[in-house]
Amino acid sequence: MATAAPPVTHDGHVITQTHADVTRDVAGTLAPASRGYVLLLLGAVSLFLIGALTFLVLIKDGLGHAGYQPPIFWSVYITTFVFWVGIGHAGTLISAILFLFRSPWRTAVYRSTEAMTVFAVMTAGLFPIIHIGRQWIFYWLLPYPNSRYLWPNFKSPLLWDVFAIGTYLTVSTTFLVFGLIPDVAAVRDQSSGWRRKIYQLVSVGWRGTDNQWRHYSRAYLYLAALATPLVLSVHSVVSWDFAMGIVPGWHGTIFAPYFVAGAIYSGIGMVLTLIIPLRRALRIEHMIGDYHFDNLGKLTLLTGSILFYAYGCEYFVAWYSGNIFEQTTFFRRAFGSYWWAGWTMIICNAFVSQLLWFRKIRTNLTSLFVISIFINIGMWFERFVIIVSSLSNDYIPWAWDQLTPTWADWGILAGSFGWFGMWFLLFAKNFPIVAIQEIKEMIPMPRKRGGHH
């Protein structure tokens, strides 16, 4: 070995692992499950069953159980839909956008965040179907030749959503599975039994030849380049579900960037909630350390500050517009009957994120975990406030009403966390949750003549 000092990334992070360490440590995460893991999985599955049972009752009786009544017909299900789509965005930001920016800290965390994206969008995709009421004809949303030659209304943002979410789910799944190929091939060679069969199938004959790398690297680059505008577009389209309506509190031009920043903010919150316990459970603390959490914290701070600005901007524009409906809506968000939801959103998102200015807090895992829980709660409430508070006080005060979430709302919400957690836990135990190949790429290969190329 000619390299005397350990290699250092351009932002000062020291790499101490060797190629063999990486494969060994990541293959170690696939070892038989501990009791804690089994308990977590059982918890997730039981939550999912609660959701599935609630859904069955909803199919039988209809959406009346969910407290839908005039004027509020979008409530907890749409809130949770936007929440889960948003969660997905941080994963694509880290896996695709930071790949194009060549961020060295993304390599250790991007696989878990990308898996989070796929499962979050899978969860989100269920909600419009639950929400439409007659779930068994959900395919009416798609343009397919039917006996009356009726086509969907492409001018409706709800249909844009069908295309945006469908594309997002397909492309992020493709990106995840494609990125897995070389890593699965690395663990394939040390596995046995049914797992080996699955790994052989997923790694599609990967051997790491020069031609395979040549095509693979190019294709990965193009997938990242396509996923980058996609992730920005998806939450913009979701925001237009609201912004295209003339409901006060929804009809704002700031909505697309505001929603994208919020989505990434909420997603990184979920990343932190997932990774902090996961790294201990899978014994990969040395692979995901202070360096990564520091950078995740900075990203949270950035997007949290954008949200802070967007909240301020919304209130300013409501006042400056001179429009009495807009002004009333925003006044009632802070001091009306939903004041508790409004302040939860502002405190959890705008203020709690400002704590991350301190490096001590960014690198303290306990404080980060607590902050991440605040972010999750705050971002769920942000969507609740936008949707329910705007609908509950529309243009006609006579029609104003309150929404009280019911057992059916909470059952489906709990079920969605169970469904998401179940898939994430199964993935983490059965596939390499840290990107072997990209970490190996960062470790310089030994050189006879020494130095860097």
């Binding site: 030659y149 086509w151 594309t167 031609n211 193009y222 505008p229 290969m445």
Partner: protein, 175 residues
């Protein structure tokens, strides 16, 4: 890393610890005109890529074609479907481009990404299609030669008994 010449012919397998030594070996082999070498590595490496001096992967062509197809399909589908059953919505023109940009954009990304990954399948299916077309052309030509050029010249429908064909020297003499 290992260098391996392709099978059948006696080959050579070499394993390297140092990446610059492997790159030197690749350059030396290529200088001697040896092109069919395969390099195995745990991760892509610029030095090896430079030594091999491959062309850029043609996968970009698939991304481009997929993306353009998606864009055209997005606009084509929305405009055609709007005009197929014209309904005025919100006082907008029947075919309104701005909202359709969203659909076209999403389909650009969708088909661009899928065709990037499906390049292998496209290659395989495209080749299979070319084979099939080739077989069809050859088959049609063979049938045409058989039935049109040969069979129809010699076959009379009057129901004469079959007599093997020979040079009709005698008939020429008679006429």
């Amino acid at each position: 890393m290992a260098l391996l010449r392709s099978r059948r012919k006696p080959g050579l397998l070499a394993s390297f610890i140092h990446v610059d030594a492997a790159a030197d070996a690749i350059r030396a082999l290529r200088a001697r005109g040896i092109r069919d070498l395969v390099v195995y590595s745990a991760a892509p490496n610029h030095e090896i890529e430079e030594a091999l001096d491959h062309r850029v992967s043609p996968v970009r062509l698939f991304t481009l074609i997929g993306g353009l197809t998606g864009c055209a399909a997005g606009f084509g589908m929305t405009l055609w479907m709007s005009h197929d059953w014209p309904v005025v919505v919100g006082g907008k023109p029947i075919g309104s481009i701005p909202p359709y940009v969203v659909i076209a954009f999403e389909l650009t990304i969708l088909l661009g990404a899928l065709s990037t990954v499906a390049a292998v399948a496209v290659f395989a299916l495209g080749n299979a299609l070319a084979f099939a077309l080739e077989a069809l052309v050859a088959g049609v030509q063979a049938l045409r030669l058989e039935y049109y050029e040969l069979f129809s010249r010699l076959f009379a429908s009057s129901g004469r008994p079959f007599t093997p064909w020979r040079v009709p020297a005698r008939r020429l003499e008679n006429s």
